[in-house]
C-alpha cells in the first residue's frame, strides 16, 4: 500500500481564491528531487514556481495545463520517489479526496509551502564570545592570535595553512565563520548524447543546439575544417520574440514560433485568444472603475527644465541619473503628504485616508499592465525611488512580483511619455481615489516677462474619484505638484 498524499492548489496571499496551472515541469511517474521546480502556477498577476519540498513523485497529475483550480483543490497525487502505487490505488485516492478548508489549504497534506521569499528567516541569537587561551609558543601569526582572542576561536581545532602548519589570520577567520556547505544542486548543462558527441562541432555550438532545438546534422560547419561553430547554430535559430524574455510565461513557447512583433493571423481570418487570468483581472477591475466611479480630470502643463538640469548634474556626478518619472513619483509623494484628502481609497461609504504615500507605478509587461507599489514615496529620496522602481519593474516583467508588492497603494501614476504621447487621461485604479497621467516632454514656446522663450513642458492629467475628491481639493493638489516639479530643489532638499 503506497503512501499517497494530496498535492493541492496552494494559497498565496489572502486574496487568492483560484490559480491556473500554467505548466507542469515534471512528468507523471517520474521521480523528482527536493528543490526541483514542479509546476508554474499563475494567479491574478503573478506566475510562481512551485518547488518540491522533498524528494517525491507524482503518480497522477490531476490538473490539466491551463486549467483553473480553486485553492485547496487536488491538482496532483503525491507519493515517495521510490513507491509504486497501483492505478486503482491512485484513482481511489483521487475520488476519495475532499478539499480541505481553503483557509488552511496551504498547510494541508502534501500541498507545497508558500513561496520561499515569504518564509521568515530565523536568525540564531549571537553566541557570547568565549575566552580562549593560546599558548605563547603556539605556531600562530600575531594577527591570527589577536583575531582568535577577539572572536574566542579555539585554535586547537585549526589546521594551519602557513609555513610548517602555522596558523594564519585567514585560517582563524574561516574557523570563526559558521560552517557552510560547499556546492549545491548540480549545474544544468546540455546533455551531450552519443549523436552529439560524434558531430564535428564546438562544445558551445552543441550546447546552443540543444538549447534551441537545432539538429546539428542539418548544419554545414563554417569553422576550421568544416567544424560547426556558434554562428552556424545561431543562424539556424529564429529570432526570438520579445515574449521569450519571460521564461516563466507559459505562452512563450508557442509564441516563439511566430515572427517577432508582427505576429498576426492570416489575412481574412480572426484568431480567438483566451484572456489570461491577468488580462481578466485588468478587464474586471477597470470596467468596474470606469463604469461606476465618477471620474473627472484636471489637466496642467508643467515645466521640467529644472528637473532636466538636476538629472544632468546627477549624471555627471555619478554616471547614472534617475528618470523624469522618478522625480515625478517623489513630487507626488510630497504633494500627497500635504494633501491627505487626495491620498485615499474609497471602500463603499468609507473613505480611507493614508498616512503614507504608497504610489502604484504602472509598468507595461508583455502580458499586460501591472502596478507595483513604491511604498512611502514621501519618505524616499529620488535615488531610492529610482532604485525601487527599477527593481519592481524588473520583477513585474519577469512575473516575480509578490502580491503585497502590487496590491493596495493609495495613488497611481501612469507615464506614457516614453511612447511620445503628449497627453492622456487614465482610469482610476480602484479602490484608489486618483491617478496621474504623465505625457512626454516637449520643447514649447512660453512667455517669460514680455519675451518669448522655450521650455520643456510635460502635460499631466489627474483623474479623480468625485465621490471622495472635490474639484478644489484636486486642484490644490495639482498646484502643489506643479510647484514641486518646477522647483525640484524642494524634491532633493
Amino acid at each position: 500500500m503506497a503512501n499517497l498524499r494530496a498535492f493541492a492548489m496552494p494559497k498565496w496571499g489572502i486574496e487568492m481564491t483560484e490559480g491556473v496551472v500554467a505548466e507542469w515541469m515534471v512528468k507523471e511517474g517520474v521521480p523528482f528531487k527536493k528543490g526541483d521546480i514542479l509546476a508554474l502556477i499563475e494567479t491574478d498577476k503573478i506566475t510562481n514556481e512551485v518547488e518540491a519540498e522533498a524528494d517525491g513523485m507524482f503518480p497522477k497529475l490531476v490538473a490539466e495545463t491551463g486549467g483553473t483550480y480553486q485553492v485547496g483543490e487536488l491538482i496532483a497525487v503525491l507519493t515517495g520517489a521510490d513507491e509504486k502505487p497501483s492505478a486503482d490505488e491512485v484513482s481511489a485516492f483521487v475520488s476519495g479526496f475532499k478539499p480541505a478548508d481553503t483557509a488552511v489549504a496551504s498547510k494541508a497534506g502534501g500541498s507545497p509551502p508558500p513561496p520561499p521569499a515569504a518564509a521568515p528567516k530565523v536568525e540564531a541569537a549571537p553566541e557570547p564570545v568565549k575566552t580562549v587561551s593560546i599558548a605563547a609558543d603556539a605556531n600562530i601569526s600575531p594577527a591570527a592570535r589577536a583575531l582568535a582572542e577577539e572572536k574566542g576561536v579555539d585554535i586547537a581545532g585549526i589546521t594551519g595553512s602557513g609555513d610548517g602548519g602555522r596558523i594564519t589570520f585567514q585560517d582563524v577567520l574561516q574557523a570563526s565563520l559558521p560552517a557552510t556547505t560547499v556546492g549545491g544542486s548540480p549545474v544544468e548543462i546540455a546533455p551531450i548524447g552519443e549523436t552529439l558527441g560524434e558531430v564535428f562541432a564546438s562544445p558551445l555550438a552543441k550546447r546552443l543546439a540543444v538549447q534551441h532545438g537545432v539538429a546539428l546534422s542539418s548544419l554545414t560547419g563554417t569553422g576550421p575544417k568544416g567544424r560547426i561553430c556558434k554562428a552556424d547554430v545561431l543562424a539556424k535559430v529564429k529570432p526570438e520574440p520579445v515574449a521569450a524574455a519571460t521564461p516563466s510565461a507559459p505562452a512563450a513557447s508557442t509564441a516563439a514560433a511566430a515572427p517577432m512583433a508582427f505576429a498576426r493571423p492570416a489575412p481574412g481570418t480572426a484568431e480567438i485568444v483566451k484572456m489570461s487570468s491577468m488580462r481578466k483581472a485588468i478587464a474586471k477591475a477597470l470596467s468596474h472603475s470606469k463604469s461606476t466611479i465618477p471620474h473627472f480630470y484636471l489637466r496642467s502643463k508643467v515645466r521640467i527644465d529644472a528637473i532636466l538640469g538636476l538629472r544632468a548634474q546627477a549624471k555627471a556626478a555619478t554616471g547614472e541619473a534617475p528618470s523624469i518619472n522618478d522625480y515625478i513619483v517623489r513630487a507626488c509623494g510630497l504633494a500627497l503628504a500635504r494633501h491627505p484628502d487626495v491620498n485615499v481609497q474609497v471602500h463603499g461609504d468609507e473613505i480611507h485616508r493614508f498616512g503614507s504615500a504608497d504610489i502604484s507605478v504602472a509598468v507595461a509587461t508583455d502580458k499586460g499592465l501591472i502596478t507595483p507599489i513604491v511604498k512611502g514615496a514621501d519618505t524616499l529620496s529620488v535615488a531610492a525611488i529610482s532604485r525601487e522602481v527599477k527593481a519592481l519593474a524588473e520583477k513585474a516583467r519577469t512575473g516575480k512580483l509578490q502580491p503585497e508588492e502590487f496590491q493596495g497603494g493609495s495613488f497611481s501614476i501612469s507615464n506614457l511619455g516614453m511612447f511620445g504621447i503628449d497627453q492622456f487621461d487614465a482610469i482610476i485604479n480602484p479602490p484608489q481615489g486618483a491617478i496621474l497621467a504623465v505625457g512626454a516632454g516637449s520643447r514649447q514656446p512660453i512667455e517669460i516677462g514680455n519675451a518669448l522663450a522655450f521650455a520643456t513642458i510635460v502635460e499631466i492629467s489627474l483623474s479623480c474619484d468625485h465621490r471622495a475628491i472635490d474639484g478644489a481639493v484636486g486642484a490644490e493638489f495639482m498646484r502643489t505638484l506643479k510647484g514641486l516639479i518646477e522647483e525640484p530643489k524642494l524634491l532633493v532638499g
Binding site: A144, G162, D163, T168, F169
Partner: protein, 338 residues
C-alpha cells in the same frame, strides 16, 4: 666592524672559509685574474674583482681557472663536491646558466633525492646577475625565478655587505647546493660588515623599514630602490613595511604573512619580467593564504615582458624605479572597494 665594498666582502668571506676548511675550493673563468697576462697571474683579480689574491694564497689546486665551459665548471664542481670538497663555482654572468642547466637542474639539484639521501652536494654556484650595468640583453638578466622554481636548490639574493658575509658563509657551510646571486650593480656598494665569524640562517627576511600601511617585498638591488620609495612615502604619511627577503628558496613565508596580515596591502618589487615570475609566485602565495587580510589588490612593480634593452635610456626605463614603487604604493592605498 669595518666598512667595505661588497666585492671585497665576497673575497674576504671566501678567504676566511678557505682558511677555515681545506676542502673549500674555487672554480671559474678567469678567477685567478690575469693568468698569462704581462702583469702576472693575478694582475686583474677576475673581471668582478671578487677573488683577488686567493690564488697566491691557496694555489692552483684550490683556485682553479677553467676553460670557457660553464658545463665543465659546474660538472667538475659538482663531482668534487660529491667526493667531499666544498666547491664554489663562479658563472661569470647568470645569463650563461642555460649552458650548464643540465648540470644544475638534472644533476646538482637531484643528487640528494635520487641517492636516497645518502649523498650530498655542498656546492655554491655564484652568479652575478641583474640590469643597470648597460650590459645588453645577454648579460643583464635576473634568473632567480627559474632557479627558485627548482626543488633541490637553495637560492640566495643578498643586498647589504653584512648580509653578503653572513649568507655566503652559511652557503659555503651548507650541505646542499646553493645558488648565490650577486647583483652586479651592488659590487661597488659599501657597507658595514661585522667582524669575526658571522652567519645568517637561510629563510629569514630582513625588516628594512617598519610601517602599517603597505608591505613591500624586494630582493637584491630592488631593496635599495624600495627603501628610497619608502622614505618618500613616509613623508606622505604612508608607512611601509619593507622586507628584504634575502633568500627566495627557502622563503620566509612567516614574515610575509605577519606583515600582510597587519598592513592588508602588498607591493612586490621584482627586477625580472612579470610573467611566471618570483613576483607572481609571491602574489599567488599571499592571495591564497592571506586573502582575508587584503584590503587592496596586490601590486607588482616589475620589468616589462621584454629582454633588457641595451640603450641606457631604455634600460633605465626597464628597471623598476623608486618613482614607480611610490606610484604603486599610492595606488594600493587609494583602492576603494565597491
Amino acid at each position: 666592524m669595518a666598512r667595505q665594498m661588497i666585492r671585497d666582502v665576497i673575497r674576504d668571506t671566501i678567504d676566511a672559509e678557505m682558511a677555515r676548511d681545506e676542502n673549500v675550493i674555487m672554480l671559474g673563468e678567469d678567477i685567478v685574474g690575469g693568468m698569462g697576462s704581462p702583469g702576472g697571474p693575478e694582475a686583474i683579480g677576475g673581471i668582478w674583482g671578487t677573488s683577488g689574491g686567493l690564488w697566491a694564497k691557496y694555489g692552483s689546486d684550490r683556485v682553479i681557472d677553467t676553460p670557457i665551459s660553464e658545463s665543465a665548471i659546474i660538472g667538475a664542481a659538482a663531482g668534487a663536491s660529491l667526493t667531499g670538497k666544498r666547491a664554489i663555482a663562479e658563472i661569470m654572468f647568470a645569463d650563461f646558466i642555460g649552458v650548464c642547466m643540465d648540470q644544475i637542474w638534472n644533476q646538482v639539484a637531484k643528487f640528494r633525492y635520487m641517492f636516497g639521501g645518502k649523498s650530498k652536494c655542498p656546492i655554491v654556484i655564484r652568479m652575478p646577475y641583474g640590469a643597470g650595468y648597460n650590459a645588453a640583453p645577454q648579460h643583464s638578466q635576473s634568473i632567480h625565478a627559474m632557479v627558485t622554481a627548482m626543488p633541490g636548490l637553495k637560492v640566495v639574493m643578498p643586498t647589504t655587505a653584512a648580509d653578503v658575509k653572513g649568507l655566503l658563509t652559511t652557503a659555503i657551510r651548507d650541505d646542499d647546493p646553493v645558488i648565490f646571486l650577486e647583483h652586479k650593480a651592488l659590487y661597488g656598494v659599501k657597507g658595514e660588515v661585522p667582524d669575526g665569524e658571522y652567519l645568517i640562517p637561510f629563510g629569514h627576511a630582513r625588516q628594512v623599514t617598519q610601517g602599517d600601511d603597505v608591505t613591500i617585498l624586494a630582493t637584491g638591488m630592488m631593496v635599495g630602490f624600495a627603501e628610497k620609495a619608502a622614505a618618500q612615502l613616509a613623508q606622505d604619511g604612508i608607512g611601509c613595511d619593507l622586507l628584504d627577503l634575502r633568500t627566495t628558496s627557502p622563503l620566509d613565508e612567516e614574515a610575509i604573512m605577519d606583515s600582510v596580515e597587519r598592513t592588508g596591502r602588498l607591493l612586490i618589487v621584482d627586477e625580472a619580467p612579470p610573467r611566471c615570475s618570483f613576483a607572481t609566485d609571491l602574489s599567488a602565495l599571499v592571495a591564497n593564504k592571506a586573502f582575508a587580510s587584503l584590503k587592496a589588490p596586490i601590486e607588482m612593480v616589475t620589468g616589462p615582458h621584454s629582454p633588457v634593452p641595451f640603450a641606457r635610456e631604455l634600460e633605465s626605463a626597464y628597471v623598476p624605479s623608486p618613482d614607480k614603487i611610490v606610484a604603486a604604493a599610492v595606488k594600493a592605498m587609494s583602492y576603494r572597494r565597491g
